[in-house]
Each structure stands twice: as structure tokens, then as C-alpha cells.
Symmetry: C2
Subunit: 347 residues, 2 copies
């Protein structure tokens, strides 16, 4: 039943004919071991190729090969979030480089900073991977001031915090692709349902729609926009207003859950409306909704490379400190052509 | 900007008027520090209440306060899985007890065992939390033989592996509750769509339906059952067969994605069929499907308590080594009453 291929403390002890504790002392407190015993243990360690424990190694190298990652409360939702998918990909990518991910829980920036502090003074992490970046993010300021290696999955979103390494997905390119896709199906009355102004991610996605509409010579003025938080029931109310006001034949949405609100509002009003969401979540899959997929595995690999370069473990690869990756359009059943009657109903 | 409340190596160094390296030596290699300097540093450490690093502490206590948790490839799906929700709850519960969760990736039992071995010889974990248990699970045998503390979220499912600590959710109680709920709505033609025989979780959920049907004096013979894997498109094909064969007015399903297949098959055949799923996932939420919710946060708390008791950190609480928690019925739109015409169509 012994499938261990690694040499253990026990096998070194057996080889050197000493106790397990003596091997441990030879590694961690050599001064308490008799010189001749120490020599024998060190020879056994060399001969068997024993790797001392992470703790002992880390005191020597000052590297723990552990990165910290915060799980926020937002991810407790019944939906599989982008964050969940990211941490899977990150754990896989890290393991391939001999690194591990240590999870911690934080429900606010301040809590996360308290945890940074605790982890740095107690757990000897090599660095952090952050998500959910936003304007004036105190977390990145805190880490930068203390010269702690980190990378964010998400842009800083404000000019004066833009110097740390980050990886992000180009949200504006996603909503631009959705808008062009709908226009290609024949739509010209394309509205936008997004999050309230002021969130980096939300404003970026809105820009992809509005700039593409302008390029196409179509209206992107305020009448064609509504805002809502991410709850489907609130999105449905906002969508109902938008559908009545401008009778769009298509709505580009900031997320899949918001998109579901548009699908439901259109159904209630007996309208045929094309809808695109964002995230390629279970919601879009079940609702048969066209959406934008983020390259999560690639984002995790690039984020890992950036933080390892900061730590000093990696030197190769691109010299870029910021990487903006393109998302992909996923076409499903809500990519319908415009109804010839649309634009006449309710306006 | 200094929001640190913890004492650092630097502040000890400043207080004792020595270098950072000297403080580090005083903790990790006291024999290389001059006795009078060592005394001064140790006094500063005591006066300031400095906590030496986790690595140094762990060499002293032989405890890392870290638990390992494998992320499997199954969780890469677009759905938020039970595993994702469990690890969030586990990280939160662990943190409240001063423990952290270290993630590793494994796509098979053998890979997971290789990682156990590597983590135990390299990273000084205190124990593991395992998911996705199954019959003849080589992982629990491996850990048990090596006396490594661990707990599983999921039963062993075979008699001779049943001695290690585990927490699980009573799946049979869930499908029994779903069956009684449908019967209470007036259904008597209640079929079951499950996974192929031989999976512990799947067989357990089937039993809840079949034993309840028998109690109610209703047929649970093979004509009333079909099996499918968890893919909605395969479930739809199996459901179509089941609907044609016995024209059930309701179908109890082993999972939400399987339940969605029944919803789609019923729609294709123009039938009104009540459906219950299992897991309270995004799929059931979006599809408006009645389902069974697992007590994930409570499961994580109990699993943590069991593994901490094994490690020797906790002694209080229940003495039980095995905890089977009841799930909850979540009633949604697919809880429809039987159509008076059902049972006559297609039979």
C-alpha cells in the first residue's frame, strides 16, 4: 500500500538510524544535535534526496510559495461567479509552478486589509491575488506602500492607482461585439441596461455599447439607457420602463442576471426583444441567452505570471505589467432578428 | 496611512535597536546571536507583544493551522457547484477559528493522493477536508493508514470505509420530502429520473423517492424510473422516454440540471408535468424549479469542527464523528397540481 514516492522524515530517520525528532532537530535546531549525528543525518538527507518541510525551507529561503486570495461574500450567491471560476483556474496554474493558494474570507476592503496584515505577520505569504478592484481601492494602496507583491484581476479604474500589475478582460470590447452582432442581425433600435454610473466595470461595459452605437450612426443618448442593480427583479422593472419609453428591438445588458430581467419584462409586455448578457453564467445557459464569455483560465495564468515576476521567481515572458484580454461572443437563442412591427408598439 | 495594529519584525528591530536580521536570528537561530543581544531582542518581543511568523511558530508547535482542500475539475462548469459554495463556507468557518484553507488541484483520486503526499512532506498541513466521496475511495484509505487528520463532506458509501469522520446531507430525506410534497399537491403518478445505479449519492436520492412511494401505496417499479448522466440534453432524452412510457404527472429528479431536461421534454411533448430538482442551483432559480437546498454553511462548520477535534484543537461539542444533516424543500413554479387529463395522454 505504500505509494509514497517522496522521501519522508521517517525514511531519513530509518536510514540514519536516529529518531524522527533527531532528524527534525538536525534541520531546525542543528546546535542541539551532536556533530557526528548531525553529519550522519545530513548525509542521509543528501543521499535520499529528502526535501525538508515547507516551514524549514521557508525560514531558509524566505519564500513560502503561497499566495493569498480573498473570497468575498458576494460569491455566496447561488450563481457560480466569475470569482469562483477564477480561483479554480488560479489554483491549477499556481500548482503547476509549485505555488499554492491560501484562502481567506473578507466582506469589505477594510476586512481584507486586516487579513493582509494578519497573513503577512503570521503566515509568511509571498504575495496576493486580488479581485473586485474599484476606484480609490485602499487595498492596493496598502499593499503598494508596504512593497508586498500582488496582482489584481481587474483594473485599478483610476489614474493615480494604475501602476501596480493587473490583468483584466476588456468589457467594452465585449459589449461592442454584442452591439455589432445585434446590428448585423438587422437591429437599429438597440438600448442598454446597465449598472448605476460610477462602477469601473459597469461604466466600461456601457462605453462599449455607446461608442459602437455612435460609430454606427445610431442614438446612444440617455433615453436609450436605464440602470439597475444586479438583481433580476430590479432589472425587470428598469427594463419595463426602457421597453415602454423607446421600444427597442434589442437590449445590450451589463450582466446575465440583468439580461434575464429584460427577457422577463419583454415576455410580460408581449414583445419580441433580442437580448445579450455578460459572463456566460449558468443563468445565460439556462435562459438560452447570447452572452459574452471571459477568458478566465488565461486571465488566471497571466495574473500568476505577473505576481511571480514581482516576487522574483519568474523573469521571462512579456515585460508588460498590465494585460487586457479580449472576451468572446457566445450566440444563443436570444439573438433574434428584429420584428418588423417593433418600434411602433408603445411609443 | 499606517493602519497596522500588529507588531512587525521591523518594529521589534527598532525597539531593540538591532537589525531586522538579528531579530529573525533571535527567533530562528538563537545560537548565532550574542547572549546580551538575544536578551534585549526577547525583551522587546515580549514588551511589544510580537507574534513570530507562522513558519517559526509552526516549528515550535508542530501545527501550521492550515487545512488542505482539493478543487476538482468538475467544478470548472458554468454552474456554481455545491463544492464552490462549500469551500466559501469552509474558508469563512476556518478563519473564525484561526485556520486557513490551502487549495490544491486534482482531477482524479490518484492525483489527489500525490498532492496529499507532496503537501504533507512539504507544506506541513494539519489536515484535509475532502469532497466527492465514493465507494472504495482510495483517498480516505491512504490518509487513514498514515494517521492524517481529515474529514469528508460526503459519506464513505461502503461499509468497510465508514470509520473516519464525515458530514453529509441526507439526500434520501430530500427526495422523500419532494415526493410527499408532490403527493400533497394531488399527484399519484410520480416518476423518478436519476443517475445510473452505483453512485452513492444517486442511489441514496433514488431510495428517498422509492421508499416514500411504497409508503404511500404507489408504484415505484422500474417502469417509473429512468437514468441519465447529469447533462441536461441527455436528461431530456431520458425524460422523453419516461413521459411516453408511463405518462407521469410529476417527476422527482436527482439534480436541477436533470430536472431541466424534464421541463424541456414536457414542453416538447406539450405536457404539464410537475418537476422537482436537487441542489437549489442557479439552474433551478432561473427555471423556477422546486428543488432541495443543502445546508452548506452548516455542513462546513460541522466538518471543520470534526477535523479540528481530530487534530486535537477542539474537544468540546458533540462526540459524534458522523453527522447527517437534513436538507430543505424550496417550492417554486414547477410545483403544479396534476392536470385532470394526465395519465391519459400517450399511454
Amino acid at each position: 500500500m505504500r505509494s509514497r514516492r517522496r522521501v519522508t522524515l521517517e525514511s531519513v530517520a530509518a536510514h540514519a538510524k536516529v529518531s524522527r525528532q533527531t532528524v527534525s532537530n538536525a534541520i531546525n535546531a542543528p546546535d542541539v544535535v551532536k556533530p557526528e549525528t548531525l553529519t550522519r543525518v545530513l548525509e542521509s538527507i543528501a543521499e535520499l534526496g529528502y526535501q525538508p518541510s515547507r516551514a524549514a525551507r521557508q525560514l531558509r529561503t524566505r519564500r513560502s510559495q503561497i499566495l493569498g486570495y480573498a473570497l468575498g461574500p458576494g460569491t455566496y450567491s447561488v450563481y457560480g461567479t466569475i470569482g469562483d471560476r477564477f480561483v479554480h483556474a488560479l489554483a491549477q496554474a499556481a500548482q503547476e509552478r509549485g505555488y499554492r493558494i491560501m484562502l481567506f474570507a473578507a466582506s469589505s476592503d477594510d476586512e481584507e486589509i486586516v487579513q493582509f496584515d494578519e497573513l503577512l505577520s503570521g503566515a509568511d505569504l509571498d504575495g496576493f491575488v486580488l479581485t473586485n478592484t474599484h476606484q480609490a481601492d485602499p487595498r492596493t494602496t496598502w499593499l503598494t506602500e508596504r512593497d508586498v507583491p500582488f496582482v489584481t484581476f481587474g483594473r485599478p479604474w483610476d489614474a493615480d492607482h494604475g501602476t501596480h500589475p493587473w490583468v483584466d478582460v476588456d468589457g467594452a470590447a465585449g459589449t461592442a461585439a454584442a452591439t455589432r452582432h445585434l446590428h448585423g442581425l438587422g437591429h437599429t433600435r438597440i438600448a442598454y441596461l446597465g449598472w448605476p454610473h460610477g462602477s469601473g466595470v459597469g461604466d466600461d461595459r456601457r462605453t462599449g455599447w455607446s461608442s459602437t452605437m455612435t460609430e454606427l450612426g445610431l442614438s446612444a443618448d440617455e433615453r436609450w439607457q436605464e440602470t439597475t442593480d444586479n438583481a433580476t427583479e430590479h432589472a425587470e422593472v428598469a427594463a419595463a420602463r426602457l421597453l415602454r419609453r423607446v421600444a427597442p428591438s434589442a437590449v445590450v445588458c451589463v450582466s446575465d442576471t440583468v439580461g434575464l430581467g429584460v427577457v422577463q419584462a419583454a415576455e410580460s409586455q408581449g414583445r419580441r426583444v433580442a437580448v445579450t448578457g455578460f459572463d456566460d453564467s449558468a443563468v445565460s445557459y439556462v435562459a438560452g441567452m447570447t452572452t459574452i464569455a471571459q477568458p478566465i483560465a488565461e486571465s488566471a495564468r497571466r495574473a500568476l505570471a505577473l505576481v511571480l515576476r514581482q516576487i522574483g521567481v519568474e523573469s521571462g515572458g512579456s515585460a508588460a505589467r498590465h494585460e487586457l484580454l479580449p472576451p468572446t461572443l457566445v450566440v444563443r437563442g436570444t439573438s433574434i432578428r428584429p420584428d418588423p412591427l417593433s418600434g411602433t408598439v408603445g411609443s
